[in-house]
């Protein structure tokens, strides 16, 4: 898991003078499931297209096992892609779609048949060989697209929001399925999505992107628990982002009082963003509370209730299994470990690289 398979070195990309990628530095390890996560327009798909060879970077280097591959055309790369809308060949049936790449390699027909049926078995489409691809459901087409790419036995599989068009239940199933396939084949998956839950569920490594820059690279747990800035905190799950001032190491001031926290190294009296996850705010008796507020609204979310609780300075989102009536004044408490301090400005990409 430690070898660098792909390195992106200071990749920049402009379209008509418009910068889309502003210096991407990233390495991808062999056999890793890595997800590029970010809102639309953040540059994640462009990064993927550069890896696939469909775009070339304006500047910077793409290295595959240390060799530059900027100018290698897509058809010569050991990389295959599962496209966003599948891009199945409508004039070919299921088996012919899956066999397309193998036929170009001019493998013996017998071997092609064996590989195709083994692959259709893997994605759960046995018996669909002769079916017209246009007659398949979204989920089935998705599986054909995955089979068509995997049958090539690539070193790397690129997946561009492959589950975007599926309904929620099917999407959950396919997430598990994809993770299973990745683990059983040992192929490096580079996955693009804007769905943070999907990213957290499947990935070994998550790369959070925004405005053409990498915001944070880390394991799903790191990204969720230790977001490096307010953007990541806000994009990954729900967050309360409160303006505050770092008094000194391990003491932060917000909402009119001082809180103990665990962060250090911000200097004294520095303005910061304070991030608290809604599930980390506990509803307590007002006499034991650090903050008090009035319940503004309450929505049932299944496992928990989502409450908006207004204190003097800030309206907090709180997830709790308790159900408090609207209008009631409640107390809130948070332990120091759950108070995350972020710098006001986003750190530069170089710093990110150094940390990882």
């Amino acid at each position: 898991m430690s070898k660098h398979l792909i390195d992106l070195v200071n990749i920049r990309k402009e379209f008509d003078g418009e910068p889309i990628l502003k210096g991407i530095n990233l390495y991808i390890r062999d056999r890793e499931f890595i997800t590029l996560l970010g809102p639309s327009g953040c540059g994640k798909t462009t990064t993927l297209r550069i890896l696939g060879g469909f775009e070339s970077p304006t500047s910077g280097e793409v290295l595959f096992e240390g060799r530059r591959m900027n100018d290698i055309p897509p058809y010569k790369r050991e990389i295959n892609t599962v496209f966003q809308r599948y891009a199945l060949f409508p004039h070919l049936n299921v088996a012919e779609n899956v066999a397309f790449g193998l036929r170009i390699r001019k493998l013996p027909e017998q071997e092609i048949q064996t590989k195709v049926s083994r692959m259709l078995e893997l994605v759960g489409l046995r018996g669909f060989e002769k079916r017209d691809v246009t007659s398949l459901s979204g989920g089935q087409q998705q599986r054909v697209a995955i089979a068509r790419a995997l049958v090539m036995e690539p070193r790397v599989l690129l997946l561009d929001e492959p589950l975007g068009a599926l309904d929620l239940k099917l999407r959950k199933e396919m997430q598990i399925e994809l993770k299973r396939i990745q683990q059983s084949t040992g192929i490096t998956f580079i996955y693009v999505t804007h769905d943070q839950e999907e990213a957290l569920t499947m990935s070994d490594t998550v790369v959070v992107m925004n405005h053409g820059q990498i915001q944070q690279i880390g394991t799903p747990t790191d990204i969720y628990n230790e977001p490096v800035n307010a953007f990541v905190a806000d994009f990954i799950g729900e967050s309360n982002i409160i303006p505050g001032v770092m008094r000194r190491d391990r003491l932060v001031h917000f909402c009119g009082r001082d809180f103990e926290c665990v962060d250090e190294g911000f200097g004294e009296d520095t303005p910061v963003d304070v991030v608290i996850r809604p599930e980390d705010l506990k509803i307590v008796e007002t006499d034991r509370a650090q903050l008090t507020g009035r319940v503004e609204s309450i929505v049932f979310k299944g496992v928990h209730y989502e409450m908006m609780i207004r204190s003097e300075q800030f309206t907090f989102m709180v997830h709790s299994t308790l159900c408090e009536p609207v209008g009631k004044t409640v107390g809130l408490a948070v332990v120091p470990f759950d108070i995350h301090i972020m710098q006001k400005s986003a750190p530069s990409a170089d710093r990110m690289e150094a940390e990882n």
Partner: protein
């Protein structure tokens, strides 16, 4: 749309399409004296060289139109949108000019003392032929050749090849091309395995739209072939408007022609597997 809104067209069809066809059939089987006969069809046999020539010249024109039109349509479909508009206008522009006028224009270009021959004379090419090879004419025969007829057909019908192919190609999902490249296909294979098969409906429409008017034209062969290369269209024309006046024979020829064209189209459509819905313009 309410159903009755189609009635005017229904009436139109009956009066101007169904009735004339029935009349043709009636004429084709009549002996001119109120009786039924097959003699008209027997009479066609002696004209079979004209049929062969018509189908041959139409076939040649269609092949040339395809060879010129496909690359043009393909290149057009890859241009940025504003340039596609420009090309489209350029292709359509001659069609806004009267068909007869365009063909007359070709006459004056191809004539023995026409534009091309004058030009060749001016640069001394014909003189060169005469002195070097003992060439006896003082012009190169261009008009009244089968080549001139084919040229006229290609010139007039080329847009009908380009447009349906172009229409199919611009609708082709670029992701399919990327998918093929991704699976290891260099440009040649991408074209052979993906682009061309998916553009077949347009090709078939184009072939139909060029072949049918080519095989039945009579103006082009009359003006550019000078009557030497009589086509089925001219033959039919003669039976109704010319000195060979014989509407019964003319109707029989027209009927046979219809059946032959129908057969050609039916065979063409077989190539398309009947699987595609994009063609639209076929029989």
């Amino acid at each position: 749309m309410k159903k009755y809104m189609a009635y005017p067209y229904g009436v139109w069809m009956v009066i101007f399409i169904i009735c004339p066809i029935l009349l043709i059939v009636l004429y084709a089987f009549s002996d001119g004296a109120g009786g039924a006969t097959l003699a008209n069809f027997a009479g066609i046999v002696e004209y079979w060289p004209i049929f062969v020539r018509s189908f041959f010249l139409a076939f040649v024109s269609t092949v040339i139109c395809l060879a010129l039109g496909y690359p043009l349509a393909y290149i057009m479909s890859r241009q940025p949108p504003h340039r596609q508009q420009l090309y489209m206008t350029l292709i359509m522009l001659p069609m806004w000019m009267n068909f007869l006028l365009r063909t007359y224009a070709w006459m004056s270009i191809l004539e023995n003392k026409g534009f091309i021959n004058q030009f060749l004379n001016r640069i001394g090419f014909i003189g060169f032929l005469q002195s070097a090879f003992g060439y006896t004419l003082d012009y190169i025969p261009l008009i009244n050749t089968s080549g001139a007829v084919v040229l006229g057909m290609v010139y007039n019908f080329l847009p009908f090849m380009v447009l349906p192919i172009y229409t199919v190609l611009i609708k082709l999902d670029p992701k399919l091309i990327e998918a093929a490249q991704d699976l290891g296909a260099p440009a040649g294979i991408v074209f052979r395995r993906v682009i061309f098969p998916l553009s077949l409906p347009g090709v078939i429409s184009g072939i139909t739209m060029v072949f049918v008017p080519s095989v039945s034209t009579f103006v082009i062969s009359k003006l550019l072939g000078g009557g030497k290369y009589m086509l089925v269209g001219d033959l039919i024309d003669l039976q109704f408007m010319g000195n060979a006046y014989n509407p019964a024979l003319g109707s029989a020829i027209a009927l046979v022609m219809m059946v032959l064209i129908f057969l050609c189209m039916w065979i063409m459509n077989k190539f398309d597997d009947g699987s595609s819905e994009e063609g639209g313009l076929m029989l």
